[in-house]
């Protein structure tokens, strides 16, 4: 009997109201998800290093990588991370037009990156099944390309919502922030990929 009186909850106005506002919930969720995603890429990186460690010649003859296009691609992708940040800065100053401009440029850069990757695939002269190096190369860059594509869709979604519904302002810009974080993530993964698949094959 005493127990049940103990369980009677106290009523408080502050705690009832506090649940409604969780502004940072979605960003925190995205970060948690990206931790998980990096572990998946980590699985691919580790596999690549194990396979490379066991091989006598790496990459095997006939499957050398071309450096020109991917280097240009890298420069474009890395700079796009700065461009997208300008968009985020713009919306925080309530500059919607500026945000659209910078996000539009980022989307364009992302599209150029994907086009460059497609060009690279078509001109390399070997395919997915040629040898273990080619397996890793196409699978890992392909997987990353898929993530760039998703990031591109997010940015286009932001632009569309901004134009169609007039979303986003200096006080409400969580969606913009999330697209930016995702884009940075894709960029960081690419830097690791570029080091592993391209630069380290030179040594």
């Amino acid at each position: 009997m005493q127990d049940s009186t103990l369980n009677a909850p106290e009523i408080s106005l502050s705690s009832a109201a506090s649940h409604e506002e969780h502004p940072d919930l979605r960003v925190f969720g995205l970060l948690t998800f990206l931790v998980s995603e990096s572990l998946m890429f980590g699985g691919f990186f580790a596999s690549y290093l194990v396979l490379r460690g066991a091989a006598a010649v790496w990459p095997p003859e006939g499957t050398e990588v071309e450096l020109l296009v991917p280097t240009i691609n890298t420069v474009i992708l890395v700079s796009s991370s700065f461009v997208i940040h300008l968009g985020d800065t713009a919306i925080k100053k309530n500059n919607v037009a500026g945000m659209r401009l910078w996000y539009g440029i980022t989307a364009l850069m992302g599209a150029i990156f994907l086009a460059g990757q497609a060009y690279e695939y078509l001109t390399l002269g070997y395919g997915l099944t040629t040898n273990v190096f080619a397996n890793c190369f196409y699978l890992m860059t392909g997987f990353h390309g898929l993530h760039v594509f998703i990031g591109l869709l997010l940015i286009l979604g932001v632009l569309w919502r901004s134009r169609r519904f007039g979303h986003y302002s200096a006080t409400k810009h969580t969606g913009i922030e999330m697209a930016e974080i995702y884009w940075h993530f894709v960029d960081i993964i690419w830097i690791i990929l570029f080091s592993l698949l391209y630069i380290l094959t030179l040594f």
Binding site: L6, S12, M40, S47
Partner: protein, 551 residues
């Protein structure tokens, strides 16, 4: 607080149409209420439990005699593979994390729902197609390479079935990752402000540790399975040694997830134990902080022990040593928990309810299984009994005696909260007695079989093992019968059982402060935490605090 403020809150809340209940058909739709999703998880998991159990029955009947006279060996392999896969991925993980986690975590931390309700529903609805893929693979020969799907075997058996298996596991894995991130955000960000970290129920600590583990390890399995999928279907050779691939690589990727998966299955169960034992022993839990931190310790150490599954895979001696030691270290936080529960029972006013019986049964089982794990974690002994029935006996003690007993304990404990009706205690005892006897009868002799050298995963065996196998089969039939009183009891009580009070066990955690079953938005006003979750015997003191606070 003045009277006026209180009445204002009530008005606001009535507009939210509180105290409504879901209709039966709401449970078959894309519902975003965490309680509905929890029940969906639990019921689906129990369906797969029955299917997996029937497969186990078929396997044991086959093994009753040394010849393959009941099942065709290929079908035996498919049953063996899918029994393991279903029980791990479609039963224990969804029931323990998805079911109990979804139903209880928001209630326990005082939230109205999970952080991302729609994502939560998506995570659940990935499960039925995964189950359909697994069962559908039987039309294509069935996946036959065991639940580990080691190449090169998985590359040469029924390819379509194996691909379906991979897709099923990737779906379940995605579900698990989405669920885990939801739990992490809910627990870290949506705990009511009045609840201190040291007032959070131990079940939430366990789910937090589980979720971190799932977030870190599941994606690596996904990576490995994607590589396997490409090897099977698109002509790559990641795991084909003759073309520069590496089979042991798969084992690393696989066990980097699948060893932590053991803790994914057992940590939520540890959480359930930490709730059930103090409530039914009427005592504060012994060593709250030690139990909470040991969950986190298991989560961290659990990520560094996976190679103990690979002692026979050509692992170099230094690696065997490292992973033997790290494996044995996991026994320390686990032991901390066990001692905490035993010390809680010590001198408590124990009520031998069905939930408590299963909790105590779990303790005894888990000590046997855990000690078996210590022996297996030691490289020299593992080399001797590797891939024998000793291993089968060990992990069934941990997974059946550990996880399944825990899920039953949780069901008996929270059934009144989930359904609003009490379960029949007499049938609960019958269920417990049959399960307890059946588990020992089935799995204890398997240790002896293994020490004598009977290999696992085969349909035919040397006649010298026939006697002990016969005992195991009898035990398995007892286990098979044991689910009948449970299902009868659960269904009957859900429909016609006596109405449950809001707090039938006099528990102190937040979920018991709502009605049974909880209304759609859990509370009219969010509760304020004034005492720890297990503060039994401090009633007077706490009551005074409450009174002082309300003045």
């Amino acid at each position: 607080m003045t009277q006026l403020e209180t009445s204002q809150i009530t008005t606001v809340v009535t507009e939210h149409e509180l105290h409504q209940r879901w209709k039966w058909y709401d449970y078959f739709t894309f519902n975003i209420d965490h309680k509905v999703i929890g029940i969906q998880y639990l019921v689906t998991a129990f369906v797969f439990y029955l299917i997996g159990g029937l497969m186990a029955m078929a396997i044991r009947i086959e093994l009753n005699t040394p010849d393959a006279d009941f099942l065709d060996p290929n079908l035996y392999n498919a049953f063996m593979t899918n029994h393991g896969t279903l029980m791990i991925f479609m039963w224990i993980v969804p029931a323990a994390i998805g079911g109990f986690g979804n139903f209880l975590v928001p209630l326990m931390v005082g939230a109205r729902d999970m952080a991302f309700p729609k994502l939560n529903a998506i995570a659940f609805w990935l499960n039925p197609p995964a189950g359909a893929l697994l069962l559908g693979s039987f039309f294509f020969g069935g996946s036959q390479s065991g639940w580990t799907a080691y190449p090169p075997l998985s590359l040469i058996t029924a390819n379509t079935a194996q691909t379906m298996w991979i897709l099923a596991i990737v779906l379940v894995g995605t579900s698990s990752i989405l669920g885990a991130l939801n739990f992490v955000v809910t627990i870290l960000k949506m705990k009511v402000p009045s609840m201190q970290w040291t007032q959070m129920p131990l079940f939430c600590w366990a789910i937090l540790a589980t979720s971190v583990l799932a977030l870190l390890s599941t994606p690596v399995l996904a990576a490995g399975l994607v590589l396997l999928l490409f090897d099977i279907n698109f002509g790559t050779s990641f795991f084909k040694p003759d073309a520069g691939g590496n089979v042991v690589l798969y084992q690393h990727l696989f066990w980097f997830y699948s060893h932590p998966a053991v803790y994914l299955m057992i940590l939520p169960i540890f959480g359930i134990m930490s709730e059930v034992i103090p409530v039914h022993a009427r005592k504060p839990i012994f060593g709250y902080k030690a139990i909470a931190y040991s969950s986190l310790a298991i989560c961290v150490i659990g990520l560094f022990v996976w190679v103990h599954h690979m002692f026979t895979s050509g692992t170099p001696p230094w690696m065997r040593m490292f992973f033997t030691i790290s494996t044995l270290i996991v026994a320390v936080p686990t032991g901390v928990k066990i001692f905490g529960w035993v010390a809680t029972l010590w001198g408590g006013k124990i009520r031998f309810t069905s939930a408590m019986l299963f909790a105590i049964g779990l303790l005894s089982m888990f000590v046997v299984g855990g000690l078996g794990g210590v022996t297996l974690g030691t490289a020299p002994f593992d080399l001797h009994v590797h891939d024998t029935y000793y291993v089968v006996g060990h992990f069934h003690y941990v997974l059946f005696g550990g996880s399944v007993f825990g899920i039953y304990a949780g069901i008996y404990h929270w059934f009144p909260k989930i359904t609003g009706r009490m379960m029949n205690e007499t049938w609960g005892r019958v269920h417990f007695a049959l399960t307890f006897v059946g588990t020992h009868l089935t799995f204890l002799p398997m240790h002896q079989l293994g020490l004598q050298g009977m290999p696992r995963r085969v349909a035919m065996y040397d006649p010298q093992f026939a006697g002990i196998n016969h005992i195991c089969t009898i035990g398995a039939i007892v286990l098979g019968i044991s689910v009948l009183p449970f299902f009868f009891n659960a269904i009957w009580s859900w429909l016609y059982g006596p109405k449950a009070a809001d707090n039938p066990w006099d528990a102190l955690t937040l979920e018991w402060t709502t009605s049974s079953p909880p209304a759609i938005e859990n509370w009219e006003v969010l509760p304020v935490v004034t005492h720890g979750p297990y503060d039994y015997g401090r009633t007077v003191e706490v009551n005074q605090t409450v009174q002082t606070a309300s003045i």
